[in-house]
């Protein structure tokens, strides 16, 4: 039973994990993450990798949209930037994969800052449209700068190698994707314990007040775009190693909408929210496959008949979440946690 958490210093107040139960959960999560490739088959390991990539990217968008309040529909394009950078570096220079992924993040961050410039003048839907405009330009470049991007056909990516060992399969790539994502999520969680993170939140809550408080909007808005795009770029880089082929159709506007939906469903402005949202958006359509498989013995051609139903149920679930839990899945977790606070006593 947890009655209260007494904090005796600011340091303790700012700590990410405040009680023993949280440490236990974190320990279990890390143990689980380490054990995945040993216990799961190719399918589940693949999905784990996909979820982790999406978690990294959603966390990035959450920094920008959830914490800084700047709506972006250009996230897919930033992922594409990372993916293309990795593909080009791998193809032309054959540099180590970690360096390529970092470079992917850096390129995306640099372009992200430029794309973020309109955020100084426009907000909300207007900014969303401005970012769509930027992603249309980037899409055009990917498609038409054939000598670099391979045009409509794109670029095939050689597998990542680590001391001569190829990492081509999800079970091998997992050891690249998992630590990077964990580091990025930890980085994001810690970001909001710093001056920078608090500045982002101040801008989200009221940008004029933030400016009055002495937060330079130009610097911090662009910084938020840079950090967010860096996350997208790194996620795109990991995506490139996973799918081994990058083209202009790999990341579309739908990708950006997917991530925006993920953070809204998961819970904006919450690290856990982005994680849960990405898991929800990636896994629910897959889990619905099991529902289809479940009824398959009773219906002829279940896969064909139920495929549209599966898509509709997925859409419906998103709507229901928005209606009944506008704070996102993270809020449900918070509520469950609260209800356990006095365990084994009842409230």
């Amino acid at each position: 039973m947890l009655i209260a958490t007494a904090k005796e210093s600011y340091r303790a107040d700012q700590a990410l994990l405040t009680n023993r139960a949280q440490w236990v959960w974190l320990g279990l999560l890390i143990a689980g993450l380490v054990l995945v490739p040993f216990g799961a088959n190719a399918y589940w390991t693949y999905l784990a990798c996909l979820v982790l990539i999406n978690v990294a990217s959603a966390t990035g968008l959450n920094i920008l949209t959830g914490y800084t309040g700047l709506v972006s529909l250009g996230h897919g394009a930033f992922m594409a930037l990372g993916a293309y950078t990795v593909a080009i570096l791998e193809q032309r220079l054959g540099t180590p994969f970690l360096l390529n992924i970092l470079a992917g993040g850096a390129v995306a961050a640099a372009i992200g800052m430029i794309v973020g410039i309109p955020s100084l003048r426009v907000k909300g839907l207007y900014l969303a449209i401005a970012t769509i405009g930027a992603s249309i330009i980037l899409q055009f470049v990917f498609l038409n700068w054939t000598s670099v991007t391979g045009g409509s056909r794109g670029i095939n990516v050689a597998p990542a190698t680590f001391f001569g060992t190829e990492m081509a399969r999800p079970s091998e790539l997992y050891w690249v994707i998992m630590p990077i994502t964990v580091l990025m999520v930890l980085g994001a969680a810690n970001l909001f314990r710093t001056r920078i993170g608090r500045a982002f939140i101040a801008i989200r809550d009221r940008d004029i007040s933030a400016e009055v408080l002495g937060i330079p909007l130009l610097r911090y808005k662009l910084l938020s775009f840079a950090v967010s795009s860096f996350y997208a770029g790194v996620a795109g880089g990991m995506w490139a190693y996973m799918f081994r082929s990058v083209g202009p159709e790999s990341f579309t506007l739908l990708t950006s909408i997917f991530f925006l939906a993920a953070i809204i469903v998961g819970g904006m402005g919450s690290i856990l929210g982005a994680i849960l949202g990405a898991i929800f958006m990636t896994m629910v359509p897959e889990l619905l496959r099991f529902a289809v498989a479940f009824v398959a013995p009773f219906i002829d051609n279940a896969a064909t008949l139920l495929a549209p139903v599966r898509t509709m149920v997925f859409g419906l679930l998103i709507i229901l979440f928005l209606v009944f839990e506008p704070q996102g899945i993270a809020e449900i977790i918070r509520r469950i946690r609260r209800s356990w606070h006095l365990w084994p006593f009842r409230k």
Partner: protein, 390 residues
């Protein structure tokens, strides 16, 4: 209390019945499983539904005759929504559940993504909905093939026809600004030059473009004898055709396989009259002698799409490769299966393709030009079968 117990008991019984049904293996391990990442939703669903039906019907046909070497065939497939990440997920899911040696993939991006894995596994061959020229390269894609000509070969078939009908004709290429659309441009240019045809212009339209007035102006300026459209299913073809007609142009409009389904042109009506295109297979309603088509018509009395025929023929070729491998007493490895597939020579498809086919590489470079007759509401063959094998 009693009620609760009864409810719980009922739930338990129902649950275990479901679990039993779910957990029980649906089929014997001896089955020969064809895996499939098939788009049953999304932009390509219209094709996926036909493909699945075609494959299922061929599988049923073979099973009725005792299967392959006494093994029954089974299609294990799932919807991909035409998304590459889902296609890969389905591939991983199906291959971890079943022993799969034959596979149907749904897109060029999937073919390319899964290619290294196919090479590594060396346990299956794959065909699919993509006719990308890039895949027609046995060195780069050793364990894949396509049940028809690649997109460049398709346009080359059209060019052969044009060169015969109108030597020295002016040809306009209209392509959608997608990988699918841009695929055959280079190959078409090169072949047109060899055949003494002039490429009047190349128009690239944005994907999903509805307003094509500027492109029509280009068409008017180019004044081509023929316009070959590629990378579309239907739109913006009818718009081009009706506007060109209003302008008094006598350009003949042509398309490639995925825009050749009879039912979509039927829905267009009068404007569709005269539209031509390349078809690698016979249509459901073709009257020439074709025992396999007769069988299809007996099983399915209503019209079946070109995607259906594609699925049917793809299943036939996949199964033929497996049959030949087992005939030789060999293991079902990708190498053996592909070698068996490439041993197909002068093979009779039961009339689905009008001439005996061979598969020396990754494609079947054969096709025929059909033209839509609005009055009869159907595609009518206007050429013989053209083979563009080099």
């Amino acid at each position: 209390m009693l009620q609760t117990t009864r409810k719980t008991l009922l739930a338990l019984v129902a649950g275990s019945a479901f679990a039993f049904a779910f957990g029980a293996p649906a089929a014997k391990a001896q089955d020969l499983v064809i895996g499939g990442s098939i788009p049953l939703t999304g932009v390509f669903a219209f094709a996926g539904i036909g493909i699945e039906a075609g494959m299922q019907d061929y599988i049923a046909y073979v099973n009725e005759q005792g299967g392959v070497h006494g093994r029954q065939l089974r299609l294990a497939y799932e919807d991909t929504g035409y998304q590459v990440d889902q296609s890969v997920a389905v591939f991983n899911r199906l291959t971890s559940q079943h022993d799969i040696h034959l596979y149907y993939g749904d897109s060029t991006a999937f073919s390319r993504t899964i290619n290294p894995e196919l090479n590594r596994m060396n346990s299956m061959i794959m065909a699919g909905a993509s006719f990308a020229s890039e895949i027609n390269d046995p060195e780069a894609f050793p364990f894949q093939f396509m049940a028809g000509p690649d997109y460049t070969e398709m346009t080359n078939i059209l060019l052969e026809y044009i060169a015969q009908e109108t030597p020295g004709a002016r040809v306009l290429l209209v392509n959608s600004d997608t990988e699918f659309g841009r695929d055959p441009i280079e190959g078409t240019r090169a072949r047109a030059e060899e055949l003494g045809l002039t490429i009047a212009d190349v128009i690239i339209t944005p994907p999903g473009a509805v307003d094509v007035s500027t492109e029509i102006l280009k068409l008017r300026r180019a004044r081509p004898d023929y316009a070959i459209f590629h990378g579309y299913i239907l739109a913006p073809l009818p718009e081009f055709m009706s506007q060109a007609r209003e302008l008094g142009l006598d350009t003949k409009f042509m398309g490639t396989f995925w825009s050749m389904d009879n039912s979509i042109w039927q829905s267009v009506g009068e404007v569709a009259d005269g539209f031509m295109g390349v078809m690698p297979y016979r249509y459901y309603f073709d009257e020439e002698e074709a025992p396999m088509l007769e069988h299809i018509r007996s099983v399915r009395p209503e019209y079946q799409s070109t995607a259906y025929i594609q699925g049917y023929l793809t299943a036939m070729l996949l199964v033929e490769a497996a049959k030949r491998t087992l005939d030789e007493g060999q293991e079902l490895t990708a190498e053996n299966l592909k070698a068996a597939l490439n041993s197909i020579e002068d093979f009779d498809t039961g009339g689905l393709i009008g001439v005996p086919i061979s598969i020396p590489g990754n494609s079947i470079p054969v096709g025929r030009v059909y033209q839509y007759d609005a009055e009869a509401e159907r595609m009518v063959a206007v050429s013989d079968w053209i083979n563009v094998q080099e």
